[in-house]
């Protein structure tokens, strides 16, 4: 049997899915965590369970919601499990009443019943079941209560007759329309609503016009549906909801004065913690472990008389390349943990709300922010989450901008350079790159809004979920999964690349081994292209050039490649640090390091993210334009940073004073612009009548 799991956004479908199947799909606390249907087998049965993106009604509003509606009509499920958040009964039952009009057996799974009492609610479930004529099971996806009962009900549930919920004239009209098709009641309702997917025949249109005399039938149906639910609810809910902790928390997190400092502080803290605190504590230890392993293996190989080529491949290629990346796992754990807490607590929806107005000025909306925050873990899910944005231009802009956010794979690059060149301020420098990214996003958005995407949406209708204490098990699982994925990538793609890089570095074009590294294949290729990076490095470095290009494979490959190149070049001293002055990357200065980081952060993302962009943008031409746009911006910014930085150095001005003066100028301009605006017109606040004219 095929069973669909359907319900409102954020009603806990995926938690129920995981409880039913024993799988571990990602859960979160914001509308739109599940974007594609995912299936699994229900424990102890042969039933296929399909987890669907959340929907509020069977009239899809965004792309990901369409997936759920199409599933019902195209995949023809045998049973639907309707997950209902019992603390938000009224709105949830709206979808339920639509599902009950279908000719598919429905089980209503009342979820989060463990939260009912906390919210001061009591429900008469038997009465609810009778009034809606549906089988109801009380469950809790988190505590697994009622899950076994739900599984056993699947085999026995059958289609029940739909209850009459509309006024007499509409009910009469429904029974006068075509009855001999599957889902006839549902389809007839849609015909009355004049839904574009279910078109009424001309004779049916006449019936509808003569029987239903309302201005706006779509509105009438929705209103009557809600009126019915209100009646049902008032006879089933014994106590009413009391205000919860969410309101109190919002008075802090959405506070007039505190909200922005809290938001900026939290974002700063994430990068400060992961790169600054944890990074500086672990980087030396991990580094010496890897060096130690390399030395150990090389000593073993020498004593076993293993050939020089193999030893070099293993030690200088594989251990150096893979090890360089694996060394950043501690920082990533902290980053993933912070993002997971943001996602599961409900705070992310507040950030979206907080910044919506600012983002609208850029042609984006608060929804784009969710993509950006998810993207700070990995661009791929970040880009996918743009599907919850209903305006096409806004969605495309968000897709192009999301890779600008430093993702976890870019963290090794930041940690490597910031840790070496700014040892006392590595946390501040890495957080500064995050804010740099925000600035780049703002500028790029303004450019795109001006020239490409002009059709800007005017709507933001988003549910604000309640705060939830993150579930320790799920957060741990989420962090664990992401770290494992990173380690797997190190063991596969990065390993492969390290071998290829080692090969290209150890051989010349006529395949002689052991040539001077400057004569290797890779150096020849790099030298041919090194002019590209000259303006931001101040040196024609083939090593930095080929490493930056490898960022296309995976951004952490930049670090891996630099480690392999340095390892093979450093005949001077064994295990020399990547940036030791005698080494091949010795030319890097703090200024060129920052410039190089900027380029790698903002240039074309890795192939994985490019693939995700292609799926969302849909066309080759637009994709190429987007990637070109990103890379040109990155090159310009890298060059700008290096040139301004160098100029400051020669003029003996500190970088800090430049940053502060730029900030001051921006603030002054913003204040002046704002003052002029206020002079001209009312700022548009709705809560005073004094300036209304």
């Amino acid at each position: 049997m095929k069973i669909g799991l359907i319900g409102n956004q954020n009603s806990g479908k995926t938690t129920v899915f995981n409880a039913l199947t024993g799988l571990n799909n990602k859960v979160g606390n914001w509308p739109g965590v599940t974007l594609e249907k995912k299936s699994g087998k229900i424990k102890g049965t042969n039933h296929e369970l399909v987890d669907l993106p959340g929907i509020y009604s069977l009239s899809p509003y965004t792309i990901e919601e369409t997936v759920s509606c199409d599933f019902i009509f195209d995949d023809k499920p045998d049973v639907l499990i309707n997950v209902v958040d019992s603390t938000e009964l009224e709105r949830s039952l709206y979808l339920t009443t639509q599902l009950l009009e279908l000719d598919i057996p429905v089980i209503l799974a009342l979820n989060m019943t463990d939260l009912l009492e906390k919210n001061g609610l009591k429900l008469n479930v038997d009465k609810l079941s009778k009034l809606l004529n549906v089988n109801i099971i009380q469950i809790s996806g988190v505590t697994q209560n009622g899950i076994d009962k739900l599984i056993s009900l699947i085999d026995t549930v059958s289609i029940k007759s739909s209850v009459k919920i509309y006024s007499d004239d509409i009910e009469k009209c429904l029974s006068s329309l075509e009855q001999n098709v599957k889902h006839s009641r549902f389809i007839n309702v849609k015909k009355i609503e004049s839904d574009s997917r279910f078109v009424a025949s001309d004779s049916e249109k006449d019936i509808i016009h003569s029987l239903c005399k309302y201005n706006d039938l779509e509105e009438t149906i929705a209103t009557q549906r809600y009126n019915f639910i209100e009646k049902v609810k008032s006879s089933c809910v014994i106590q009413n909801k009391v205000s919860t902790i969410s309101q109190k928390l919002d008075s802090i997190f959405l506070n007039k004065i505190l909200s922005f400092p809290i938001f900026i502080g939290l974002m700063f803290l994430i990068y400060y913690l992961s790169v600054g605190v944890v990074g500086s504590a672990t980087v030396d230890m991990v580094g010496s472990c890897i060096d130690g392993l390399g030395e150990f293996v090389s000593n073993c190989f020498i004593s076993w008389n293993v050939s020089e080529i193999i030893t070099s491949l293993v030690v200088d290629g594989i251990i150096a390349g893979v090890g360089a990346v694996l060394g950043f796992v501690p920082q990533l754990i902290i980053l993933f943990l912070c993002i997971s807490l943001l996602e599961t607590s409900g705070y992310m929806s507040r950030i979206s709300l907080l910044l919506d107005k600012l983002f609208r000025k850029l042609g984006l909306s608060g929804k784009s922010l969710i993509s950006f925050i998810v993207g700070s873990g990995c661009s791929v899910p970040g880009i996918m989450s743009t599907r919850t944005i209903e305006n096409e231009d806004e969605r495309k802009m968000t897709t192009i901008l999301t890779p600008f956010i430093p993702c976890s794979a870019k963290l090794p690059i930041i940690a490597l350079f910031a840790g070496y060149f700014f040892p006392n301020n590595s946390g501040v420098v890495s957080a500064s790159l995050y804010f740099f990214a925000i600035a780049v996003i703002i500028i790029s958005a303004l450019i795109m809004k001006k020239f490409i995407f002009k059709n800007i949406s005017d709507t933001y209708i988003v549910e604000l979920p309640e705060y939830k204490i993150p579930n320790v098990k799920y957060v741990a699982r989420d962090v664990f999964d992401k770290v494992i994925a990173f380690i797997k990538r190190a063991g596969t793609i990065i390993l492969l690349c390290s071998i290829v890089i080692w090969f290209l570095l150890s051989f010349s074009f006529n395949f002689t081994y052991g040539v001077d590294i400057e004569d290797s294949i890779l150096a020849t290729i790099g030298n041919a292209l090194s002019w590209i990076f000259y303006p931001m490095l101040g040196s024609k470095s083939w090593g930095a050039t080929v490493s930056a290009i490898q960022g296309l494979v995976a951004k952490e490959q930049v670090v891996s490649s630099m480690a392999v190149i340095n390892g093979l070049a450093a005949d001077v001293e064994e295990g020399a640090a990547i940036f030791s002055t005698s080494g091949i990357f010795g030319f890097f200065s703090p200024v060129s390091a920052y410039a190089f980081m900027v380029f790698n952060l903002f240039s074309a993302p890795c192939f994985g993210a490019i693939g995700a962009m292609q799926r969302e943008l849909g066309g080759g031409k637009q994709l190429l334009k987007a990637i070109g746009f990103q890379t040109i911006i990155a090159w310009l910014l890298g060059t700008l940073v290096f040139q301004i930085g160098t100029l400051c150095q020669t003029l003996n001005i500190s970088v800090g004073s430049v940053i502060i003066s730029i900030l001051l100028i921006v603030i002054i301009i913003a204040v002046i612009l704002n003052m002029q605006k206020k002079k001209n017109k009312c700022s548009g606040c709705p809560y005073c009548n004094s300036c209304k004219s």
Binding site: L89, K241, G366, T459, E463, L464, P686, Y687
Partner: protein
């Protein structure tokens, strides 16, 4: 009066929804904003837009431009 004219803490009953964009109106209807719905302004974030409204036991964030098009009548609770 318009829904956007309400102050924080005030509750009102929706009288009419005058949004011409079918898709947006449909979405608002689906979310439970229909004629007769009781809506309370719960909080106004620092930038004053969008505004949080409470209806049907949950909270919804809506931009003022949409709230401008919803006529309502203030009621005492």
């Amino acid at each position: 009066m318009k829904l956007s004219d309400l102050k924080v803490g005030q509750t009102a009953k929706v009288q009419s929804i005058n949004i011409t964009d079918r898709k947006i109106k449909r979405h608002l209807l689906d979310m439970g904003v229909v004629v007769g719905t009781k809506v309370k302004i719960t909080k106004v974030p620092p930038m004053k837009d969008p505004v949080c409204i409470e209806l049907r036991d949950y909270e919804l964030a809506v931009r003022k431009s949409d709230m401008d098009k919803i006529e309502c009548e203030v009621i005492d609770v």
